[in-house]
Symmetry: C2
Subunit: 308 residues, 2 copies
């Protein structure tokens, strides 16, 4: 048994006007609750420190820079790191990263029990669009405010296991899990902010959105025999509703814990990394069963090439 | 609207002693029923003409050759082709193929309304093992009796659409659907013979097997915005039970039709290929969203490479 007691720490809505100090206080309260439940690791959502700002259009791109962090930890997040160190709690959360070179990424980090940042991931699959779209019921400007991640899908040894990260829309892409699976990943942690209505198909409401969410993470877990910990920012942000759906999926693809509601909350589950072995050694023993000679299109072409 | 009225034609068990003429008569009865329901296309299971023989061990490999077809159509299957032509019914079914060069494949074909074989697929992901395994509760010798398919995952234009095939265990591998998705596939047809008990984990019974089946085909459909038609051989073959789970999944990942029971039976559903457009043009518009520069491991390495 190699158990990581893992806390999936959902955040309820963060209004546009709420400042980082307030959010960090909420995150610390969740961490304290996770500690009471004896967690080793706490996972927070994507863009945990602010509202889901890609819904807001700024004609002047630079106006959006106040949503970004120029250092990590910075003044607002230092108390979170301090508490995590004090509690010996590993953690992962997402934030908007502005690099010293002026580049913008949708980023998450993996922080060990001693407060060291051991891993950094930058969101590869940016959904949405890069210019104002009057045909949508709401904007989803991730392609405007971020560039695609440039770090691939690495994994890291931490807490006696092999951990990886992805963010929100990445979870819908089987390539995400497979690249990590090919590095032996045992737990994928991911945060998300998913609008409850598809901006291009109003009829697609929250139940269908949650169905696609669960389907994608359960398939990714099963097909790579890995734990997946998926954590939502949920509820009504300035009139824009985000789905909940915070859950933990075992290496068999089963949901073992799911958080109800849209408020700040924690679920803790003892994830035994040794449970990944059966799948990795049998039906998904990649070395015995994969046939890469027939997968060429996956890396040779980006878009569709229709047959003659 | 580009509707293919599609019949998923499940076969109940085929005992070891049952001959091909008898099986073909059952297949024709299902075709007649599909025609009464105005189907354009009928899909039968993997290895439709015989029992699931990879459960039987022959020390002399050549003894198994009697399970294989040396020509298609051959004497036993000619009546099936004749009836399909007469009814103007397109069809797909699986069989064990022995080539003139003496090669063995687990094969399926796609036959147009006029009886022309327009497509041939050879199973790429062979599960199981190649030698007798005394530790298993039953044998699964696909790696003994077949070589891996050598044709990749092509697609074909037929019935005013783009169709592809895969077989059984292929459906658990996201690469299968993705390679076809990258060719614009609108309907994947597949047959399967899935033992109701995992030969390496007895506790994994039929409900869990069906869960993994549904999860895999629903994720493949959603993530490539394609119809998937999955057809079982079901029930008790000489004391060895196969799951049912014949179903049709829409391009949204939803099960729209599912056949109950383990007997011969047909479900017909009007699959509108234009329903694939929304997914292909928005969230799974590959050209806009895929990032192949980060997928390299998927085709560069077969097995796992652990991090340092």
């Amino acid at each position: 048994m190699r158990v990581i007691r893992t806390a999936a720490a959902q955040l309820g809505p963060i209004q546009k006007a709420e400042d980082r100090d307030s959010v960090v206080a909420r995150m610390i309260a969740l961490m304290d609750e996770a500690k009471r439940q004896d967690a080793d690791l706490i996972v927070y959502p994507e863009l945990a420190l602010t509202t889901f700002f890609p819904r807001w259009y700024h004609e002047d791109r630079a106006e959006a820079d106040h949503w970004f962090e120029r250092e990590m930890p910075g003044p607002a997040t230092a108390p979170l790191f301090a508490r995590a160190r004090e509690l010996g709690m590993a953690m992962s959360f997402g934030y908007a990263e502005l690099t010293p070179e002026g580049r913008h990424f949708n980023t998450s980090i993996l922080v060990d029990r001693d407060g060291t940042i051991v891993g950094r991931y930058r969101k590869v699959h940016l959904p949405g669009h890069d210019a104002f779209d009057p045909e949508r019921t709401h904007q989803h400007l991730e392609k405007r405010y971020f560039e695609p991640g440039d770090l691939g899908f690495p994994v890291w040894r931490m807490l006696d296991g092999i951990l990886g990260m992805c963010i929100c829309n990445d979870r819908r892409w089987p390539e995400t899990y497979r690249v990590m699976g090919l590095q032996g990943v045992e737990m994928v942690v991911l945060g998300f902010n998913t609008p409850s209505v598809n901006s291009q198909r109003n009829a697609e409401g929250i139940e269908e959105r949650l169905f696609h969410h669960r389907l994608s993470v359960q398939a990714g877990a099963y097909q790579n025999a890995t734990w997946v910990v998926a954590v939502a920012k949920a509820g009504d942000e300035d009139g824009h509703h985000l789905t909940g759906g915070t859950l933990i999926v075992d290496p068999n693809g089963k949901i073992v814990a799911e958080l109800a509601g849209e408020a700040d909350g924690v679920i803790v589950y003892p994830c035994d990394l040794d449970e990944t072995r059966f799948g990795k050694e049998t039906i998904f023993d990649f070395a015995r069963h994969r046939r890469i000679e027939h997968y060429g299109r996956i890396t040779a072409q980006t878009g569709v090439v229709l047959p003659d």
